[in-house]
Amino acid sequence: MNGPTTAPKLGVQGLTHRFEIGDERKSLTVLSDIDLAILRGQFVCIIGESGCGKSTLLRMMAGLLTPSEGKVLHDGVPIRGVNQALGFVFQQDAVFPWLTVERNVEYGPRSRGVPKAERERLVAHWCEAVGLGSFRKAYPKQLSGGMRKRVDLARAYANSPDVLLMDEPFAALDVQTKATMQEAVLKLWESTQKTVVFVTHDLDEAVFLADVVVVLSSRPGRVYAIIDNPLRRPRDEATRVSDEFAAAKRALWVALQDARAKGAAAPALPPAAALVQHAEPNPESVRP
C-alpha cells in the first residue's frame, strides 16, 4: 500500500461533466472543475442541494460513470471503468431480493474467489457487526427498510473495500432509524479506519459524521467550500443534543454563508487542498 501522505487516497482532478440533452448540440454542465483530495482514513461528507450533481460525482469516483473531462485517481492512479476496490452503498434499496441476508453479504467475497471457510467467517463477522446475526437466513422482503440498509452496509464492508462511497444511504429512512444507522456507520468507520465519502443533503447528518464537509454549489456543481468540522470525536447519541454539536453546526453554517457571500465564481479553497487526516490524534486540520 502507498504511504498515507504521498498521494491522496482518492483524488479528483479538473472534473467536469456535461449531460447531453435532446439533440447533440445542447448539453447541460452538471459538474464544473471539481478538484478534491481525500486522505486515507478520512470521513468526508459532500453536501449540496438536490440536483447539484453530488450523486453524479460519487458515481464518477466509483467509475460507474465516466466524466466528460478530468479524472479520478485512486492512490494516485487514474481509474478506468468500475473501480472494484471501492465499496458503494446506494440511496435506493440495492440488496439483492433473491438472495438471503448471508448470501447478500457473501456476494462480494464470492465474486473475488475468497475460499469458503474465509467467506463463512466474513459473513458471520459482518452480519453480527450490523446486528443481523439472527436474520442470516431471512430474505430481504422479510426485513424492514432500516434492516435492509444494514444488509447493504454489511455487504459493502464484507468485501473489504479500500474506500466506501455512500450515496445518501439513509435518505429514505425515518428520523429514529436514520440516527441509529449513522451511529452504526461511525462505529464501522472507527473500527475499520476505512476512508468514507458520504453524500447527503442533510446538514445535521454531515455534522454528526464528517471530519470534513465539501459543499457543492448548484448548476453547475462546483466546490463551493471545504470546511473542517470542529466537532470532537468520539461521537454518540449524546453528541446530537450537546452544545458542541450546535456550535459545530453553526460554525459550518457560517462558513457556508461566507462562501456564498464570496460568490460561487471564486473557489473557497485552492484546488486539490488536502483535507484533514483522521488518523492523526490532533483534530486540527493539516494543509500542505
Binding site: 460507474l64 439483492f96 431480493p97 433473491w98 456476494y107 465474486s111 468485501n159
Partner: protein, 266 residues
Amino acid sequence: MMQSNAGGSRHRLFRPSLIVGALSLCAIIAAYWAMALRPGTNAALVPAPPVILQTLIEELRSGDLLTNTLASLQRVLIGYAIGAALALALGALAGWFRWWGYILNPIIDALRPIPALAYIPLVIVWVGIGEPSRIIIIALAVFKPIVVNARAGMQEVAQIYVDAARTLGASRWRVFATVALPSAVPYFIAGMRTGVSTGFLALVAAELIAAPSGLGFMIQNAGQYFRTDVTIVGIIVIGVLGALLDQTASRAGRALTAWSDVRREP
C-alpha cells in the same frame, strides 16, 4: 417477521377460490345440459352430461383414453422441453448481451407475428409425417412466447442491482449469471406458463397430421364418425391436462420466486 400461510392451509377445502371456481364450472355444465335437453335437439350430436360421463368411463375401461393421453403427454413434454430450453437460452442472451441482441433480435421479431401452425406444411414437406414433425411443431409453438418473455425480462433488469454487483467485484459473466438471470425469473415463469397453453394448442393441430394416436387424433377420428361424446371427452381431458400442467408450472414458479414481494395472483 416471517410470513405464514397457516390461515390459508387450515381451511384448504373451504377456500373461496375453490368454491366459486366449482360453482362457475357447474353453471357452464348446467347451461350445456339445458341446451342438450331442449326438445328437438339431436341427442347423438349434443349428448347430455350423463352420456358423456358414460363415454368417459368406457374410454377409460378400454384403455384407449389412457393410450391417447400418454401419447399426447409425451409429445407435449418433449416438444415443450426442447422449445422452452432453446427459448430461455436464446431469449436470455438476446436480452442481455448487446451482440447477441444484434444477432438474434431480428429473428425473434420476425418470428413473432407468425402463428406456429403456419409452419405445419413446411415441417411436413421437410421432415415428413412422423413423430419428429409433431414434436417440432409443438416446440415452435412453445418457443415464441417464452423467447419474447425471457428477452423482455433480461431487458428490464434494474440497473441498481447491476451497479451494486459491479462495485462488489463481479465479472460481467457473474453479473449475467447471478444478477440478470435470477431477477428475470418472474418473466421466465410468465413465458413458460403461456408456453403450456400454446403447446397444447399446437398439440391438437400437430396430431391432425395423420397421427396414429393422441388426444388430437381421438377428437378428429371421433368427429368423422359423429361420435360427439368422444370428442367432448377428448376436449375435457385436454382441458384438465392443460390446467394441471399450468398449475404445476405456476407452483414451480412460486417456489422459484419466493423471494419476490410482488402480489400473488389468485
